[in-house]
């Protein structure tokens, strides 16, 4: 079994995690014993692999995540007057988010290049229904749709472009 020097970092990473099967681990050791260049490279790369690892999330991080109750649907929005303002806020947040999260119109879709021709929410699936949003993201506040959110949208994080994605998409 030969070892590709261009994959040395990956092999070291696998060995560090105990993922290398015994035969591949032996092949790596044999290669390092005979290849001074890789041996030197391994000596320099192994500390990097150790340095870049993050400690596991702490209790505070996990609690912060739990407290968001993301994806939970604990209740339907009651039809009480007192809930109308939050509903409006959530709708505003969703609308503001929508305006910046919709993928930039592509020349490949010339039929969708006119904002007037595509009223807000008309594009299938690109609308955040306020009720559903509140259920799935109960801690979502109007602040989520302010510049805190906007500045992450230079690239559409859900873009279908890029390596890998088309491999899982029809059409």
């Amino acid at each position: 079994m030969s070892v590709d020097c261009e994959m040395l970092g990956a092999l070291l990473s696998e060995r560090r995690r105990g993922e290398l099967p015994p035969d591949e681990a032996r092949a790596l050791d044999a290669h390092l014993a005979g290849c001074a260049r890789c041996r030197d490279e391994a000596r320099r790369l192994e500390p990097v692999l150790a340095m870049v690892e993050l400690p596991p999330p702490g209790a505070a991080e996990l609690e912060a995540l739990r407290s968001r109750r993301i994806g939970e649907a604990p209740h339907r929005m009651p039809a009480r007057a007192g809930w109308q303002l939050p509903a409006v806020l959530v709708a505003a947040a969703a609308a503001a988010l929508l305006t910046v999260s919709v993928r930039p119109l592509s020349p490949r879709h010339p039929e969708r290049t006119g904002a007037a021709a595509v009223p807000p929410g008309a594009a299938e699936g690109e609308l955040l229904p306020a009720g559903d949003t509140q259920e799935l993201f109960p801690e979502l506040s109007a602040a989520e749709a302010t510049d805190e959110t906007v500045d992450t949208l230079d690239d559409d994080a859900t873009s279908l472009e890029g390596p890998g994605l088309f491999g899982y998409l029809e059409g």
Binding site: A10, S13, A64, E144, A157
Partner: protein
Amino acid sequence: MAQSGRPRQAPQLTLVGRGVPSDEALVRAHLDGDATAFGALVQRHQRLVLALVRRYARSPEESADLVQQSFLRAFAAAGRVFPRMRLGEQGAFRAWLLRVAVNVGKNHARDGRRWRLEPVESVDLTAQGSDVTEKIQAEQRRRMVRAALDALTRRQREVFALRVDGELPFAEVARVMGITENNAKVHFHHAVRRLRERLGGEVEG
């Protein structure tokens, strides 16, 4: 998303393992109007999403923000993306979600202001003696690594995030990226080499 004019049917979940619906079955259920399906996907994947975004956060709250943002983006795009997803192929949803999370982290990182004005108050100074020193040093290392990651190419950074932060085997990294496993390993090797160059003398050994 349920299509108008079509009678809504109860979602037919494909079971994997011991009665656990697959991601793809939950996606189908979500499209068919099951209000709980997306939440089930969140519960299943939020720890992995947290792992992918937390490097770029200054606080536990910000980590949670980025996780929430990732799922919010996924939820917002679900109607557009899910119907085109190859749901017969196991792992399609997870691969897409992980790419969303990596991109959310990357986009967040791009705003250098979040880091520049981040003095030591982010370090817990209530600890005593050497604990404080160690924590400050750890925080400094964390920032240096983060800065070094900026020097990576997009693909190197994505492979790095999925492998180091997501702790995925290279076979799954390759699957998420849509490249071969060997290609993923080569990208990773060059990423680590470039990090070594950037971190220079800060690296022990």
